[in-house]
């Protein structure tokens, strides 16, 4: 028989205002097993905890029930108290008489009655509690960063600086991500490449960092501290160890008509290519969709001109298996497709472009060598219209746009408008906006400068329709402040397209059993207090995969994620959760119900011999739970038809005892 102590907390007036705490303590005194029952103003305070510790010693308590706030709040606190008093921490049960009682009831008698019932349930459970000891698991001291944009780069550099090896997996042939495509960065207008490429070089030169470019994560197994990851290194048909990046092959490649994705299809590249001059690794890649040699075996020009002998048409995809202690997701974003926005004539006119295309048009390394020229006829545009919130904050058009604010468009549009007016003062620049949202250090000043110093026309209102007519774009919009319709004959229209998570994020989330929101942004463990951790232990979030962000925010989050990873990797052992499931193999049918509902892949099967009558042995398929992977959710215990699956700390019998206590 247990000797149980009951401790009823007032939580100041939080509980005591609606629950007669003395009556609760008195009523629980008579429950089976209870030998001591008391109340106190703040049980979580040092004095309150001392009261518990003293009672444990004085009354030889074997179990504790604390009637207080939610166990999410102070279960850990009281478990530590029990430990300090020499009790097993899992002999503590919390009856939540605050969130589930005093805060939801108004009348004292009702609140008190419910508090007593919740207390009785907790006592009934403690009567069946057994001491539990958590297991330990080792930590693989290596981190994986998925995505090699600025977020992934910063996270990898910070982890590597702390002395831990890091691998970056990047699906493109080079790291750098979206930032590498940008021209200038707000609000200081320094050139994106000038600040990014040194970091890319740092990554390449860091001894602790390996780059798997042109690679994708194929499968993830395991758990925090012990992930096993399969990485597919796609065949680039060029030996990375031999290629010097000289570019001779590219010059000679006869296949010149490949749309250049780095310039968003606004010019062409060869079938063998290096995405941009500062690519890391600076290694050529053959595009198998366009290479004549790979498609029909006729060509081989690049082999002839490669002095290093790096071309290898027979290269195959390679599978790399590696163990990691922590995984950082930094998969980034893509601008949404403009195909569904017919009203803006994106697919009808070459002169309607997205903001990212505008970045390439103004970039010195872009298709026009930095000169702002219309894609259709190469003429200098004299009237430019920028449209903000294309697909953002679009609750009415959910099937084509996004409900959220993409956060970066106000600032980059101001940047585009300002830079255009600065370089080409004869250009008339108009910006249509719903709201201008520029919180951030020096952000609002920046936008005001675009209006006040550079004379950009900001019009509050939305563009309704764009029609190409001749070489002009007829823009029809409304000015909500002047309350009139506006018509502009523009030469170029730039759409600030909403951003969405990269398409690779969803399958990756499934592999990682990390949760996502309805927009496919990764969910953080706590929106305020644990913003860089995923709810799945050992998985961390960096950059726009978690939500729209600008570069400064991305870099700070990347550093935060790195510090969490470092905190994890510097541990030698991780203490597990002892509240895990296990299967009573004598009762297990091996039916696979539990395995199918297990969200963590913790359950496997083995054939096991059982002694039968008359010295026989019966071989049966039975379930085995990996306690290091099990998170104790209990889904399996519900699915198991024979009741063979049970969860330590939340045994079926314990839960039934609680229900019985409540229904009595």
């Amino acid at each position: 028989m247990q000797r149980i102590g009951v401790f009823v907390c007032w939580c100041g007036s939080n509980i005591a205002g609606t629950v007669d705490v003395k009556a609760v303590a008195e009523a629980l005194k008579n429950e089976p097993g209870v030998v001591f029952s008391t109340d106190y103003q703040y049980m979580c305070s040092q004095a309150g905890q001392d009261l518990i510790k003293n009672a444990v010693k004085e009354h030889n308590l074997t179990g504790i029930v604390v009637c207080s706030c939610s166990p999410r709040m102070h279960e850990a606190t009281f478990r530590k108290t029990a430990s300090a008093a020499g009790l097993n921490p899992y002999m503590v049960e919390i009856a939540n008489i605050r969130e589930q009682c005093s805060w939801v009831h108004k009348e004292m008698p009702l609140g008190t009655q419910k508090a007593i019932i919740l207390g009785k349930a907790a006592v009934a459970k403690v009567n069946l509690n057994t001491p539990l000891t958590p297991g330990e698991s080792p930590v693989t001291k290596r981190a994986l960063v998925i995505g090699g944009g600025i977020a992934g780069i910063q996270t990898a550099l910070d982890i590597a600086d702390a002395g831990f090896p890091v691998d970056i997996v990047e699906k493109k042939p080079t790291i750098g991500g979206k930032m590498a495509q940008l021209d200038k960065t707000f609000p200081t207008l320094d050139c994106a490449a000038c600040i990014l490429t040194p970091k890319m070089v740092d990554v390449a030169q860091n001894e602790n960092i390996r780059i798997f470019s042109y690679s994708e994560v194929e499968a993830v197994k395991g758990f925090v501290g012990n992930f096993e990851v399969k990485i597919k290194k796609k065949a680039r048909f060029v030996d990375e160890t031999k290629c010097t990046g000289c570019g001779a092959c590219i010059e000679k490649c006869p296949q010149k008509k490949v749309p250049n994705e780095f310039n968003l299809g606004m010019d062409t590249r060869r079938a063998i290519y290096i995405p941009f001059a500062q690519a890391v690794p600076k290694v050529a890649t053959i595009d198998p969709d366009y290479c004549n040699m790979l498609k029909n075996g006729k060509c081989g020009v690049c082999t002839k001109f490669c002095a290093a002998g790096a071309i290898d048409y027979k290269q195959k995809d390679e599978m790399i298996e590696e163990k990691y202690g922590a995984i950082v997701v930094a998969t980034g974003f893509e601008p949404i497709s403009m195909d569904k926005f017919d009203e803006f004539a994106y697919s009808q006119s070459k002169d309607v472009i997205t903001s990212l295309e505008f970045e390439r048009l103004t970039n010195a390394a872009g298709p026009t060598a930095g000169k702002l020229l219309r894609p259709s006829d190469g003429k200098h545009p004299e009237k430019i219209v920028f449209v903000q919130c294309v697909g953002s904050r679009c609750s009415a058009c959910a099937e084509k746009g996004k409900e959220y604010c993409s956060k970066i468009c106000c600032m980059y549009t101001a940047k585009h408008a300002m830079l255009t007016r600065d370089k080409y003062p004869d250009t008339e620049v108009t910006v249509f906006y719903i709201d201008v949202r520029t919180p951030g250090k020096n952000f609002d000043e920046f936008q005001r400068r675009a209006v006040e110093e550079y004379g950009v026309n900001y019009i509050k209102g939305m563009v309704g329709k764009i029609t190409p007519e001749g070489d002009k774009l007829k823009v029809r919009g409304s000015d909500l402040i002047a309350n009139k319709q506006i018509k502009i004959d523009a030469d170029l229209v730039v759409l600030a397209a909403a951003i969405e998570p990269d398409k690779s994020a969803r399958p990756l989330a499934t592999m990682l059993t990390a949760s996502m929101d309805t927009n496919d942004f990764f969910t953080e463990a706590h929106p305020k207090l644990r913003p860089v951790e995923s709810p799945t232990a050992g998985v961390f979030l960096s950059g726009t995969c978690q939500g729209p962000k600008d570069i400064p925010e991305t870099v700070s989050q990347a550093g935060a994620a790195a510090s969490k990873v470092i905190g994890l990797l510097q541990k030698d052992k991780l203490v597990g959760n002892p509240c895990v499931a296990s299967s009573d193999q004598l009762m297990c049918n091996g039916c696979s119900s539990c395995e199918r509902v297990c969200p963590y892949g913790a359950i496997s099967y083995e054939d096991k011999d059982f002694p039968g009558p008359n010295r026989t042995t019966k071989t049966r398929r039975v379930a085995v739970v990996n306690p290091a992977v099990c998170q104790g959710c209990g889904a399996c215990t519900v699915a198991c038809p024979s009741g063979a699956m049970d969860l330590s700390g939340f045994k079926n019998t314990q839960i039934m005892a609680e229900v019985d206590a409540i229904c009595k």
């Binding site: 004598l586 009762m587 297990c588 049918n589 091996g590 039916c591 696979s592 119900s593 199918r596 509902v597 969200p599 099967y605 011999d609 039968g612 008359n614 010295r615 026989t616 042995t617 019966k618 071989t619 049966r620 398929r621 699915a639 038809p641 024979s642 009741g643 063979a644 079926n652 019998t653 039934m656």
Partner: protein, 341 residues
């Protein structure tokens, strides 16, 4: 009458036995009366000739017996491990669904079984015959579409087979064999039956009426466990009702509510796994329409998650043990419960 005859099945079984392909046969065994057919296991052609029968009363679903009959037991002289020979099972269309469901749950080894699909033309419910012919049945035989009954008190009579067809055959869900190695006779199609009509009728009752309905039905229960023992979904190594650890073991109904719990717990345990073979109601000596509980679950699952037939294929992921992003929100399930309250 069945198009496929007892003789055809014996011939097929004998052929497989003589070829050495199978060591024993799971089939139907003659009883004292023509309608008194039970599952049987036959070890030789002579036994088959003496006792095997296939007819309008060969209703038993044999799939479940494979669990014990294909067990991997070592140590004693056991036929299975010593020979490569398999066990032959005859499967009517509805039995084949249970067969697949058991395979999905890894309950027997497919390698050890040779399955012969048998055309089924519907089974006769002896209780319905008794209702018409009264007591003192001397013999019940079928010829063509008629059931010929001889009775002690009411003389001889012919009843149309359609009038005494078992409920599950009236509402037959499928004439299609979903599993077999070989087929005798024809296999048909999945049928768009009216099997949920009765469930709908009960759903439309007020909570009080519904409670009274089940109170009346379930109070007849004598806890003989026949429904559980015949159910092909109830193959647990240790049933919770036999397990002292479960807290519901051999619990006698202390009040009128508890007597319902056995059947309700059982319905929950087979939810999503029940193929609607109807064995529970067929074997119930008290004629409780137990299949309606299971059908209610099937109907709800179909409505919430899209049509799902347990056992239609091996390895299918039943909606209750699977998650897809399109799954119905718990709130919607709750709201619908309110509507029916």
């Amino acid at each position: 009458m069945q198009k496929i005859t007892t003789e055809q099945l014996i011939e097929k079984a004998a052929e497989l036995m003589n070829e050495g392909k199978v060591a024993s046969v799971l089939g139907w065994e003659k009883g004292e009366f023509g309608y008194d057919v039970t599952p049987g296991i036959f070890g030789s052609v002579d036994e088959l000739k003496a006792k095997f029968v296939y007819g309008d009363f060969s209703a038993a679903n044999l799939s479940k017996y494979l669990v014990k009959k294909t067990e991997m037991v070592q140590g004693q002289a056991l036929v299975f491990l010593k020979t490569e020979r398999k066990i032959l099972i005859f499967l009517k269309p509805c039995d084949s669904y249970s067969f697949n469901q058991l395979l999905t749950e890894h309950r027997f080894d497919r390698e050890k079984v040779y399955a012969v699909g048998v055309q089924c033309d519907g089974m006769v419910d002896i209780e319905k015959v008794k209702k018409i012919a009264g007591d003192g049945l001397l013999s019940v035989d079928t010829s063509g579409n008629d059931v010929v009954v001889k009775t002690l008190y009411n003389g001889d009579m012919k009843i149309a087979k359609a009038d005494v067809l078992a409920e599950r055959c009236v509402n037959c869900k499928s004439k299609k064999h979903v599993a077999y190695d070989e087929l005798l006779g024809e296999t048909g199609e999945v049928i768009d039956s009216n099997r949920f009509d009765e469930v709908e009728r009960i759903e439309k009752m007020t909570p009080d009426e519904r409670f009274a309905f089940w109170q009346n039905e379930l109070s007849k229960c004598i806890r003989c466990n026949a429904c559980r023992d015949a159910c092909p979904a109830c193959t647990c190594e240790k049933c919770v009702f036999d397990n002292p650890k479960s807290g519901v073991e051999n619990k006698s109904p202390a009040n009128s509510f508890e007597e319902k719990l056995f059947h309700i717990i059982r319905a929950y345990h087979v939810a999503g796994r029940c193929t609607d073979c109807g064995e529970c109601s067929r074997v119930c000596p008290q004629n409780i329409p137990l299949h309606l509980l299971n059908r209610k679950f099937i109907k709800d699952i179909n409505e919430f998650y899209g049509d799902y037939q347990a056992g239609a294929e091996v390895g299918s992921r039943a909606p209750l043990v699977d998650y897809t992003v399109n799954d119905v929100e718990p709130g919607e399930v709750f709201d619908r419960g309110d509507e029916n309250a």
